[in-house]
Symmetry: C2
Subunit: 474 residues, 2 copies
């Protein structure tokens, strides 16, 4: 293989992994030549080859960009299309289905393809456990008054520092520590809207968002969402011309289930739109640390000038889910959220906060994250490959830019609940599409989790789901 072919394949892989997304500008010929110690000619040849493959397009005076009309030539599975939900707000009741689905995952013998949680085997639980033990030997950890909101100052400092390392300046005084991101999202939603209000969500949307809306007796309206660029701002604007929308809840990075990373320009546009119409945005950033690209993704919060973005996150996806430690950066709603936290659960236990703060202070959090990001990126590719090969003709799937879930569209003839039942009988769990919508638009979609270290058992389970999908389509 010639040098330029090898380099072209490298770039192609990065595009497939989602490091470069459709519409992204890739490094200029001169930059690439310097970074990779290749001659200008070699880089140019590689770019021309990729252009001929339809993966790149050159734009005069601007450089090379990843094509917007990319076609995955390998395998049978195609890319997803933008969703077209019905623009009618509706009350929400998905939690029973979600809870029963999650319960089936609790069975240790089941293959947890339906799990929304990261496989804990890659997480530093031994170290955290030791830090918790050491913290617990300090008598002062056993009071409650030091556990009152906003949160333990040691952890708060570590969280603020981590944002700074990722290029986002955060006021530590804005941070409210919560019982997981779930509580953070609930409190933020309660701070900005009241029962009966309409909340705009992505379509499909992460069911935790729907749960918060359900709990508060609010209504949801689903907004058309592109599988790579995220929520359609024009569609959102159109909805708001016909009815009042109290707030918008989105997951701009590695959305669950679609896996996209909203391009920076889109993020900025969304925040500017919200500022114009004075609409709060609840940003769920729990997957932000799990990117497959070279750099940490930006947040909506970083574009926010009016304090309208309520940013929520947690350590549950990146360090440990067992401690249920999350937080909110609620912008101008900070005091309201702090008060609601106090009313909702009074205090967040201190010992786990200290254990996490110690890990962040003393151990290589970034090192740990690099390891799991790499594992997830590889496992995403493996799962995509298996789905491409073994799922029925006509299957479409997401191309995750981070996180650990894959979203799969099956034939419209498939009922995901039936598929779920059949898979469960074989000891395999999957996430039925019903959970991600207030309508049944996703009745033929499923979500698969690829956070578990790859194994024959996982591979065989994915293949088995593909075979069952074929059966369900007949």
């Amino acid at each position: 293989m010639k040098l330029y072919e090898k380099f072209a394949d490298d770039i192609q892989r990065l595009i497939r992994q989602g490091v470069y997304r459709p519409g992204d500008r890739i490094p200029s010929v001169r930059q690439a030549s310097q970074h990779h110690r290749l001659s200008i000619t070699t880089v140019l040849h590689a770019y021309l080859l990729l252009e001929s493959r339809g993966l790149l397009e050159s734009r005069p005076q601007s450089g090379y960009f990843v094509s917007l009309t990319r076609e995955d030539s390998k395998g049978r599975a195609r890319e997803l299309q933008q969703s077209k939900p019905i623009a009618v707000s509706s009350s929400v009741d998905v939690s029973r289905l979600v809870l029963s689905t999650l319960r089936s995952i609790g069975d240790d013998n089941a293959v947890p393809l339906g799990s929304p949680y990261p496989d804990p085997s890659l997480f530093p639980s031994e170290k955290l456990n030791r830090y918790a033990y050491t913290a617990g030997r300090d008598k002062s950890m056993w009071g409650v008054t030091n556990a009152l909101p906003p949160g333990d100052p040691y952890l708060v400092r570590q969280i603020a520092r981590r944002y700074l390392e990722n290029g986002m300046s955060v006021d530590p005084n804005e941070i409210i520590v919560t019982v997981g991101a779930t509580e953070a999202i609930n409190l933020c939603l309660q701070a900005v809207a009241k029962p009966g209000d309409v909340i705009a969500v992505e379509s499909p949307t992460f069911y935790a968002m729907l749960h918060a809306i359900e709990r508060m007796g609010m209504k949801a309206i689903e907004v058309s969402t592109h599988p790579e660029y995220g929520i359609d701002i024009a569609a959102l604007a159109a909805i708001m011309r016909s009815q009042p929308v109290a707030a918008c809840m989105v997951m701009p990075n590695f959305q669950n289930p679609l896996g996209f990373q909203m391009p920076d320009e889109r993020k900025r546009e969304l925040v500017e739109f919200a500022a114009r119409v004075d609409m709060p945005i609840i940003e769920n950033g729990v997957y932000n640390e799990l990117y497959f690209g070279d750099t940490h993704p930006s947040t909506l919060k970083s574009y926010d000038k009016k304090g309208l973005v309520l940013h929520c996150s947690s350590f549950s996806k990146s360090l440990t889910a067992a401690y249920r430690i999350g937080w909110a950066l609620p912008g101008r709603y900070r005091d309201k959220v702090e008060k609601l936290k106090f009313l909702n659960t009074l205090a967040t236990p201190v010992i786990p906060q200290i254990a996490i703060a110690e890990f962040l202070e003393r151990d290589g959090y970034e090192h740990h994250l690099r390891r799991i990001r790499k594992a997830y990126a590889q496992q995403a590719n493996l799962m995509r490959t298996i789905v491409s090969r073994f799922f029925p003709e006509g299957t479409r799937m997401s191309s995750p830019a981070g996180g650990y879930v894959l979203w799969i569209e099956l034939s419209p003839k498939v009922d995901a609940m039936r598929l779920y039942q059949l898979a469960l009988e074989q000891g395999i769990t999957i996430g039925p599409g019903y959970m991600f919508s207030i309508s049944d638009s996703y009745r033929h979609f499923i979500r698969l989790n690829y956070s578990s270290p790859w194994s024959t058992r996982i591979e065989q389970a994915v293949i088995a789901v593909g075979k069952l999908a074929a059966i369900c389509a007949h």
Copy 2:
């Protein structure tokens, strides 16, 4: 001292400690003679002496009863009177004051007389910490699916067993583990009422109840409450004739701040009344284990035949507050509360659940409880004695039958917020009465915590508060 005088003094002490409450029948002469190996004549002499002191009264054919018009002859502080709140429902906003008060307690140098929490020094934190460490070494503890509601089966079994030991039969399947009793109360309230609804509470009431009402945008109405018998059922009935009341929230045992234990007959009456009018009762039972009498107090739940009592409790007052482990027994609302728990915080961390379950299984929980009950009863007496001696003429105070707080009524000229500020300047925290009401009926009341092991520092602080109260009354 003669034998009958000694026995009379024993009985008098039990009455003062609240073991026998006004209106209680004390053991018959024959029973007492058998139990204490005293002659019939000795017991009879003792009872006659107590009758002459105005502490007992004999009723023909019925036996001896503790006088209803008991006067504390020692010291200057008198008993409290039944509250007469204004029967107008109102929206609630006490949480800011409570949070800022609790924060001042967080200062390690302050004397924590204002704390609502038990002093952790009497709690087995080392053992719990070791159990938590051992549990955390088990990889399976680090998942999330096993932390989903209703709760860890090991802990749930221990909770059910504990109720059984206290004479209350409980279906383990009814138990929902929560993030402290705070979450349990919130979920139960949301399960039975909606925003705008009116909720009946005791007067004064524990502010955690007011917080739950505030958080849900409901309204509170305060019901006249007797300092020894609890909520006035006739007054509650009268309110309900003039306006709809969606639910009632009470703390029948060792109410915070009044410290009373509702007599069994009153409990039964309240539950029967609720059944007649089909009104759910949220029962806060967090202090149930901290009784000063001989036997575990009964619960409203134990009289409930219609599933209308939602019983909430936690380990925060009796074992450790740091873990934030509580639970609900929501009666007929069980499934609703389980769903709301899932929506509110998703999961309750498992490791602390296991640590507590291990302690209950392996160590003497009852032994630990006996130790703290004894300490609290002694400390209550000491604090009552100091208040009697050093607080200004006209001071009234509660006679706690359990728990660890004393409720003190000062001269109407005293503003508890001013007293709070003056005490804080001397490094002493107190609980201002404002926190316990939606009106300012208790502006001249304070709550003092006696859970800390007695010391000169505590004693001097109580005396100092008494002196400041005298200053504020001028």
